[in-house]
């Protein structure tokens, strides 16, 4: 059991925040977890959270990887998703009759665009050594105009049945499609981690790029790769977002999502200056943020002050997870442990001596 706790120690923050939010919500109304069936699909607070957080979850995964490898953040993700989805929409609209194939091809096309945008940021960061935030600033400032041009200076409407079903539910399936897509995406990411050394390489590069290079890992390639993965993430997120909205609004689509994505990475127990990372943490972080947003609404906080509440909450979180506080907590824990040790002194002592004796004999 203690080993298990140690293994998941990085998840303590996101899980405890989530627990806190659940408690608040339960106090507000005991029916928080109630799920009903509406039009053949599950409906309730939890399905709503899962539905609403889809894009954020997907983008947080990409953000975690980029952060881990490049020690910085990509702030252009919302804009990139807007561009990829603009291409998707244009492809679908030019097709006379929209079939599943149209949607799939359109999606794949948008993935290609996502890869290109990722490659653009990735090249700036890995080859030209531009800070990720600065590099992605270019797309961030100019990207929405590009999407606007792709849209033909309008907000095109995506009113076909398949898009509808992707944005809501497929008849006969009780779970909303964006939730399913998110789960599938997470599963694919899990497979990626299972079948490759992505984690080892990214962490190595993020922690010590010099050593990585001397051990045969090309840090540039790995950083570039994380941006490519981010590109795919933006394409998937854009795809879900535009099908949800039913309309491509190049001005507002996923406008401020990079803030929440960075936050999700941080709440997930990840350092924003790279190195070891936890995708699970970031995913929990993303759902936590969604839950936080909805909790503030559930508490009926006035719209004028809702931002302030969120900010205060986040500041508290960040302070709690900051190195200074962590060190302090660790020291406090140490003191507690030594106090406990002094109580059970004799036993502990005997144990450790035998250990040493054994070791010496080897």
């Amino acid at each position: 059991m203690p080993k298990l706790i140690k293994h998941f120690s990085h998840l303590v923050l996101p899980v405890s925040v989530m627990t806190l939010l659940i408690i608040i919500n339960l106090i507000k109304g005991a029916d928080y977890f109630r799920i009903t069936m509406v039009n053949g699909a599950f409906y309730g607070n939890i399905p709503n959270i899962l539905f609403g957080a889809s894009e954020l979850v997907i983008l947080s995964i990409g953000m975690t990887l980029v952060t881990a490898a490049s020690r910085g953040q990509d702030i252009s993700i919302g804009v990139s998703a807007t561009i990829t989805s603009a291409v998707f929409v244009q492809y679908v609209l030019q097709a006379g009759e929209v079939t599943l194939l149209t949607i799939v091809v359109g999606f794949l096309l948008s993935c290609v665009i996502g890869l290109l945008l990722g490659a653009f940021n990735g090249t700036l960061v890995s080859v030209f050594k531009v800070q990720p935030m600065v590099a992605s600033l270019i797309l961030f400032t100019g990207g929405r105009s590009i999407a606007f041009m792709i849209d033909g200076k309008l907000s095109p409407i995506l009113a076909n049945d398949i898009s509808n079903q992707i944005g809501t539910v497929i008849p006969g399936v009780p779970i909303q499609t964006p939730i399913i897509l998110t789960v599938v995406f997470i599963a694919l990411v899990a497979v990626l981690f299972k079948t490759t050394n992505l984690r080892l390489y990214v962490e190595t590069v993020g922690i010590n790029p010099n050593a990585a290079r001397l051990n045969g890992i090309n840090p540039k390639k790995i950083i570039f790769l994380t941006f490519l993965i981010m590109g795919i993430c933006t394409a998937v997120a854009g795809f879900i977002a535009v099908n949800k909205a039913g309309r491509h609004d190049s001005v507002n689509l996923l406008k401020l999502i990079m803030m929440d994505a960075i936050l999700a990475v941080a709440i997930g127990g990840n350092s924003l200056i790279g190195g070891k990372f936890s995708i699970t943490g970031a995913i929990i972080g993303a759902y936590t943020i969604e839950m936080l947003n909805r909790t503030l609404l559930r508490l009926e906080i006035e719209p004028a002050t809702i931002k302030v509440f969120k900010a205060v909450f986040i500041i508290i979180l960040m302070v709690l997870s900051s190195p200074v506080v962590r060190v302090f907590m660790k020291k406090a824990l140490d003191r507690f442990r030594s106090w406990r040790l002094s109580i059970s002194q004799p036993k502990e002592n005997a144990l450790s001596t035998t250990n040493i004796a054994e070791k010496k004999e080897e």
Binding site: E203, A211, N215, G216, R337, S352
Partner: protein, 505 residues
């Protein structure tokens, strides 16, 4: 004369998850003494000083500074109380200038007078004979110079205690003497100095007293003059060290027809060594000798393509190959244990296991990860083989003692089973017992057909293991020594004359 105690530690205990690093240790430092702290890798030496300076909190015990009970919460407090410390791992900011590294965070005023600071730095650098300019960026300094700068930073002329944790690990004899001179000066002023090292000669040369730790426990405190080297070693290891002179040197497996394992012609790199030729045979152990900054590490790095390759041709077993990146070199069966453990070696947040399998994993490929079980097996095998002290293979490498970190990096390369392994200062920070083990290992590997290049600041170590020494000076090969020529004096001669035996074929 009764010497006055400045620092006294009683019953100090400190545990980390899985290890009891210090177990009821007593320690006493007197005014104006140089007190050596000795012990194997992982004995708890660094932990003891970190407990003094407040890097770690102690679990139990009492520390008094000049009769006053102290409890520092942060290293800065210790600094302010007159305790200057050089930690084992250099803790400087690579992007700042030399002068900034020496003074920033030390002055109490927020306003920095740059001109004054640079002048003061220049003076201090000069008095310590450190070849660096105050305005130079730290990264552009060699590891040795960086270490000297860290010392300069810690030395405050009116400090009461100076703590030096393996300050000499990457220093040359010359620099060591400069440091010793400084230490003696401080001692004369009544400063108490705690000195940690694995170099026994240095201990006997400079220290007045020795405290020995073993496995986190106090073995005892001794007057240096009352102890012989052998006695000291047996106190540290708990048993008697096998005679190192018994090591049987190994001769390369060569016949007239044999093709060298590695042959480099006109190798050069962006780090600036003169184009040089280098050949090594199967089963040969050779070495680069020379003073610090002579270009021995740079040459090794050029072979491995660790720095940007700017020219040269390489043949592996007679076949012309391209080695432009470390990955090429690794794929050709070349390994390189870097000099700078912290900067180029360890991946500090990753586990011992991941650190061990890293390079083998890279060789195997991005799409072929080892199963956890497999990785675990590899890690455990080498933890045992090299006697690496770690609670579990899952422990982050950064929480290992310096010497044990070094063993992990060595394990990493041994696991890849290279044909040609370059070891740049493999025994840095390694205790006497393990040093012998490593030298024996080198010979054993060569016996099994591996070619090795050995670089060390300790010439005797190289003479013990190498069958051929390539001597360098001013980034150029100035000579080569073999067979009976392999003596310390001969090496020094070649260096002094800049090439008695020029062999720039």
């Amino acid at each position: 004369m009764l010497s006055e105690t400045i620092l006294e530690m009683k019953d100090i205990s400190k545990s980390f998850p899985g290890v009891k690093a210090l177990d009821s240790v007593d320690f006493k430092l007197r005014k104006g003494e140089i007190h050596a702290l000795m012990g194997e890798n992982g004995a708890g030496k660094s932990t003891l000083i970190k407990v003094i300076t407040g890097v770690y909190g102690k679990d139990a015990g009492l520390i008094t500074l000049q009769g006053e009970s102290i409890h520092f919460k942060a290293p800065e407090e210790a600094q302010n109380k007159g305790i200057g410390t050089v930690y084992q791992e250099i803790m400087l900011c690579p992007n700042l200038t030399v002068a900034e590294n020496m003074f920033i965070g030390r002055s109490h005023s927020l306003v920095v007078n740059w001109k004054q600071m640079n002048e003061k730095a220049a003076q201090l650098l000069d008095s310590l004979g450190i070849p660096a300019s105050p305005v130079q960026e730290l990264t552009s300094c060699s590891l040795a110079v960086q270490q000297m700068i860290a010392i300069a930073r810690a030395v405050d002329m009116d400090c009461k205690i100076l703590i030096l944790d393996e300050p000499t690990s990457s220093l040359d004899e010359d620099e060591v003497h400069k440091l010793f001179k400084l230490m003696r000066e401080l001692k004369a002023r009544g400063v108490g100095i705690i000195f940690i090292t694995h170099f026994l000669e240095q201990v006997f040369e400079i220290s007045d007293r020795i405290t020995v730790l073993r496995n986190g426990k106090l073995v005892g405190e001794y007057e240096t003059t009352s102890l012989s080297q052998i006695e000291l070693i047996s106190k540290m290891l708990g048993n008697v060290l096998e005679d190192i002179t018994k090591i049987q040197k190994h001769e390369p497996i060569v016949s007239d027809t044999s093709i060298p394992v590695f042959e480099g012609i006109g190798l050069s790199s962006a780090a600036g060594v003169r184009p040089f030729n280098f050949v090594i045979q199967r089963g040969e152990v050779n070495g680069f000798a020379g003073l610090l900054g002579s270009g021995r590490s740079e040459s090794a790095r050029a072979i491995f393509a660790a720095d940007k390759v700017t020219g040269g041709e390489v043949r592996m077993k007679g076949k012309s190959v391209k080695i432009k990146t470390p990955l090429h070199a690794i794929k050709q069966g070349i390994g390189y244990l870097p000099e700078d453990r912290k900067g180029d070696g360890i991946i500090d947040d990753l586990s011992v296991r991941d650190n061990i399998i890293l390079t083998l994993q890279v060789m195997k490929g991005f799409f072929k990860p080892f199963s956890l079980k497999q990785a675990e097996t590899f890690a455990e095998e080498y933890i045992k083989k090299l006697n690496i002290k770690t609670p579990t293979p899952d422990t982050p490498i950064k929480s290992l003692s310096g010497g044990n970190q070094q063993k992990v990096i060595l394990a990493r390369w041994l696991l890849t089973n290279p044909e040609f392994l370059i070891l740049d200062e493999p025994t840095r920070g390694i205790d006497v017992g393990t040093k012998v083990e490593i030298q024996k290992l080198v010979i054993k590997l060569a016996n099994n057909g591996m070619s090795l290049t050995f670089i060390s600041s300790e010439i005797d170590e190289m003479i013990r293991t190498c069958s051929r020494l390539i001597v360098m000076k001013d980034r150029e090969i100035v000579g080569e020594l073999k067979g009976t020529e392999l003596t310390e004096t001969e090496v020094m001669n070649v260096i002094a004359q800049g090439g008695k035996n020029p062999c720039l074929n």
